[in-house]
Symmetry: C3
Subunit: 342 residues, 3 copies
């Protein structure tokens, strides 16, 4: 259970609660047990109005507490405690963390295999069957679920949360407050091969991937996402980068601070992406190109060339009834046969 | 080895074998060892005619037994035993299960770490290095391969088959007869963040994902597929949902009974998909939309808006020689520059 | 550290070093510690000129040794040792392997669970918490990282490198010198179901996947890639096939020798791909089709039909400013409504 006072303190790590001085003692001590939408929340739950289109629901809400902007404060029912903030959605995000089950307290499971030369910080938690290699550095208060593998020489900063079956390759360097979800592969070998001259069949000579993965602070990596180590130099993610599930980040990619990447996107080798970009799901980005800061790319777009101007970019065609689509696809094909554009 | 009698019993869990009374005792006791195509099967193998276009091969088959509809019974060679069923392909599916190696008998490997407060059903099998958390409920006859992690409070129904390296997040609820393949992640945190107001760099405030994943009965999840837990409410898959490998199902998605989803498809957050849909491979479905029942979406389609009518939908363009494609792609681009459609 | 003499021996496993007899003893004993680009390398590092466009940088390089073709030998600064080879990029690939940290020497971790009926070759290395099933055959000098699962009856050839959390399904057969990265799933059940006749809801009858995965020699599989076992016959990859991360290879696919497949590509069931093909990232290839030898398919293409002629193929549209794209996408849609092509 969380009191309104605790809630306010948490919200104020990011923004002020503008009406906190107007709350009475009983309100401050009110306990909340969770979060609900305006329609569903009961009097033990917190809710919020992030989108003014839902203001009709605000008047009907049974939530115990509602996060609103000043403009909508008057519309909060008398049965609810209104907390007035500049950005209710951000306040909801901050507050939500109080209702999550806390990670286990510091504890190293006896089955964890920890090399004697690993340096383990204070108050860490290491789950069953984790394997921590030689010379690994694991920062204070980090939490590893079960079956995490950290290879020799890798460094993980303080306050990391690393979920089950994550692998962190040798010598990779992760910052503070990283959060890595189940099954992510960080620092596997990049996909680098040189064709051999073998006349009979194409063979491939493997290029050893001698770089690392370097990840900044407050980075989030989703489940089963792959971030490969660099060939010669490193693969680098800045701070505040958030990456969803099943994303492929190839060797030598560089991603600037604050960029968000949705699920199933792939970024080919040696491409550089700027700061504060928003990359939709299942986007494909070519190798050896550069995308500047503040670029938004919509889902499923194919980016083949560098983007030098901030803004929003898209490609692809959208679903339509299949019989119409067949004709359109044929017409597209004919565009290639008949049109001379060069 | 499986006798024809055993085969008939298995097929009849789904449909009648119409000519079973006409078989003699010797036929009923004939042993089969496997399955083969009409062309390849030998006299120890079962085969089937599912597609009438292959009827020519039926007359030549050396299979020991053939599943056919009544119409083609006469074309089965005298050397084969014909079993007549309404739907041979379904009969093959049912029968095939008799030839698979059986899962190990009930056995809990001594290395499994099982919390003392977990409730383990009868006759379960738990492989090496599994980790079962506090208050987990694991139904009778469930079979876990090696390295499965089930976090605290999760519930798995009876007769589950869960393969190596699967993670089931805390408090998720799975029905009866689920089948989950290697490396799948069920119940990882959804990708929810609020932008912070930090003026210098975009930061992100994590939204705790307070919902669960709830999965019905007879659900199949493929390898390395990710199904994230909900933000406030739950992510829900109905019963008889089948999902292939490397699929992304984001937080708060809802999927109706009987829907099939092929590999590499991604479904963004809070989208609702109806019953009995067929979703091809690598489809991308936008968030916060709704797709009605009985919709078929062809592979690689991009679905950006809700679909309210049952039927078949497609998008995309199909591969052509690259030099023609370059012209077509340029022509498409010009459509955007020259055409005014608004 | 690696001497120039050692470097030459390594390069000459693939191609001659044409000027080796002209090197003096001091040059031959020069030690190198790593690899760098022409711009970044210092005098302890090896570099190379693979692309003549960078010849300007060659004259300025501070690398201790440079791999060049005969044509550019004269441009190498006097401070560097030039090694003249027909194909510098291939020579770099060969040489790079000398600078990678060597895999651990032969060692079986005491926590590995190895069935007494498994046949383990000489000088293998098996990491913590690996699980090796009954009748597995593991070739000499193979190296398994932590948490690898090899199910009963699977065979792995000599000199394999298998990284953490890989699963190899029962009875699969892998050749010599395979290299499999973290989290790959090889031999999970293919996605095969027959619809049931259940009138109320669509159910699915699972088709047991009775085939195997068979993989040739010198095959590379990327992280979290999935290769499913066949339904009746096998899924087959030839030799010298290289596969990137997060690729889906469905049941009964066949892939010819020397083919390369980039990340996030999906190949649907029963499709056959020829030799020496180059398949870009996030390509989608339909099931039950055939692609001949020496086909190149560019990233994100959708291949719906068989390709019978060698050459380069593409599809899709490329990213453009979103407001232009919206008009183009609408125009594409109208192509389907207005054009009659049948």
């Amino acid at each position: 259970m969380t009191t309104i006072t605790q809630l306010i303190a948490q919200i104020e790590t990011r923004q002020p609660v503008l009406n906190k001085d107007a709350l009475n003692e009983q309100q401050c001590l009110t306990d909340l047990a969770g979060v609900g939408s305006l329609s569903d929340a009961d009097d033990t739950q917190l809710s919020f109005l992030a989108d003014p289109r839902y203001v009709d629901k605000l008047g009907q809400t049974k939530a115990g507490c509602v996060l609103v902007t000043e403009r909508y404060q008057a519309a909060v029912p008398a049965s609810s405690i209104a907390l007035v903030v500049p950005t209710p959605y951000l306040a909801y995000a901050s507050a939500s963390q109080l209702f999550a089950p806390s990670e286990n307290s510091a504890y190293i499971h006896p089955t964890a295999v920890i090399d004697e030369r690993a340096v383990i910080g204070e108050a860490v938690s290491i789950g069953a069957y984790c394997v921590i290699g030689k010379d690994v550095v694991l920062g204070a208060r980090s939490h590893l679920s079960a079956h995490v593998v950290i290879e020799a020489g890798a460094q993980v900063g303080e306050d990391a949360v690393i979920k089950s079956h994550v692998v962190i390759g040798h010598d990779c360097v992760l910052g503070q407050h990283v959060r890595i979800h189940a099954g992510a592969s960080i620092g596997a070998e990049g996909f680098g091969f040189a064709p051999t001259a073998d006349p009979s069949t194409r063979g491939w000579e493997r290029i050893a991937q001698l770089g690392k993965v370097i990840i900044g602070d407050y980075v989030r990596i989703g489940s089963n996402t792959c971030i490969d180590r660099g060939a010669i130099n490193d693969t680098v993610l800045g701070s505040h980068v958030i990456v969803d599930n099943l994303v492929q980040i190839a060797h030598n990619v560089r991603i600037g601070d604050g960029t968000a990447i949705a699920a199933k996107t792939g970024i080919a080798g040696s491409t550089s992406i700027g700061k504060r970009c928003i990359i939709g799901g299942a986007v494909g980005i070519n190798g050896h190109i550069s995308i500047t800061d503040d670029v938004t790319i919509s889902a499923m777009s194919m980016v083949t060339k560098s983007i030098q101007r901030s803004g929003s970019y898209s490609s692809g065609t959208v679903a339509m009834p299949s019989n119409e689509w067949r004709r359109a696809a044929v017409a597209f094909r004919k565009l290639g046969q008949s049109t001379r554009t060069d």
